[in-house]
Symmetry: C2
Subunit: 187 residues, 2 copies
């Protein structure tokens, strides 16, 4: 098997597909679809999101320093794709695409009710990284639809999150192992 050298690009896969909600100074909410997102620490739980400066939500989060990271299920794929293709400067996305804004407990930005997982986040660090600004944020509150829980915990098989491997969306249908399984059996 031969290795081929390609022009460097963001070939990391899969990455999560998320809908990030943020508000302007008048409290009007917007939604942006983001996949340049990752977990960056466990205690306290922290994530990073990266946004191009030209995007409408970039300015909202630079000012408010907070947002809600919502994880859509595959039933929201079409709306999720749309929210990544149109600008909040042109469209009121909550109204136009029938998303419901729910009041958050720790931040002013709203949860997206239709997304089964919602994380209220407060920005702690901002890094300028060329094309994108990276916002590091702490997860202050976590909400989930009761129907995606199993024994009180979020169940990915019920949440049905969307995976992204540029430039395609994938579903997650088959569990193939659990962390630590290799230490429990040799077969």
């Amino acid at each position: 098997m031969e290795k081929k050298e390609l022009k460097p690009n963001t070939a990391l896969m899969p990455v999560p597909v998320t809908l990030v909600s943020a508000i302007d100074e008048e409290g009007r909410p917007n939604i942006i679809t983001l996949a340049w997102v990752g977990i960056v620490a466990s205690v306290p739980p922290q994530i990073s999101i990266s946004i191009r400066e030209s995007r409408f939500s970039h300015g909202l989060i630079m000012k408010s320093k907070e947002f809600v990271l919502n994880i859509p299920g595959i039933d929201l794929l079409r709306k999720t794709d749309i929210c990544g293709s149109v600008s909040g400067r042109d469209v009121q996305k909550f109204e136009e695409y029938n998303f419901t804004a729910l009041e958050a407990t720790k931040v002013k930005a709203p949860l997206i009710k239709e997304c089964p997982i919602n994380m209220e986040c407060k920005v702690s660090e901002t890094l300028e990284l060329g094309s994108h600004t990276m916002f590091v944020a702490e997860i202050l509150a976590l909400h989930a639809d009761e129907e995606i829980l199993t024994d009180g915990k979020i169940d990915p098989a019920k949440a049905k999150p969307i995976a992204y491997a540029p430039h395609d969306y994938w579903n997650m249908k088959e569990k193939i192992g659990t962390y630590g399984f290799s230490m429990k059996s040799k077969s």
Copy 2:
């Protein structure tokens, strides 16, 4: 549908499963399995990886400021799980698990030949975030097995990366859309 508030945790899903190779001062390579990894900028292409200070690879990367981010296919699931469960202080993972070290072009850490995608990375920023140190790094070189390319580009359907939704591994079997599809059809 009711929302339930849970204790905040890193509920982002799915996240990528990667094998990160790094070397010590004598050039001996180690491998660590990481899922707290994400894309943070497109131009120049940059990713972040987060590692607990207690892990052996943390010290290696703090000193060398470079690593290779390798993406295993699902055929490497068992070895990938093992590399996340044992320490490089106790085990020479390349030898013990029959991984092949290939010389990189831009960094001293080796590529893992058995992984179909390999990104040579140089650390640009280090942030202490509680439980983990986040390393922001630029992708200096990208390699892929010829057999996972379609029209010269990495094909996720051939690379078969592993997705993680704590604490389970999932495969990606079904493509459900392509970025921008919602703007092309209304059906």
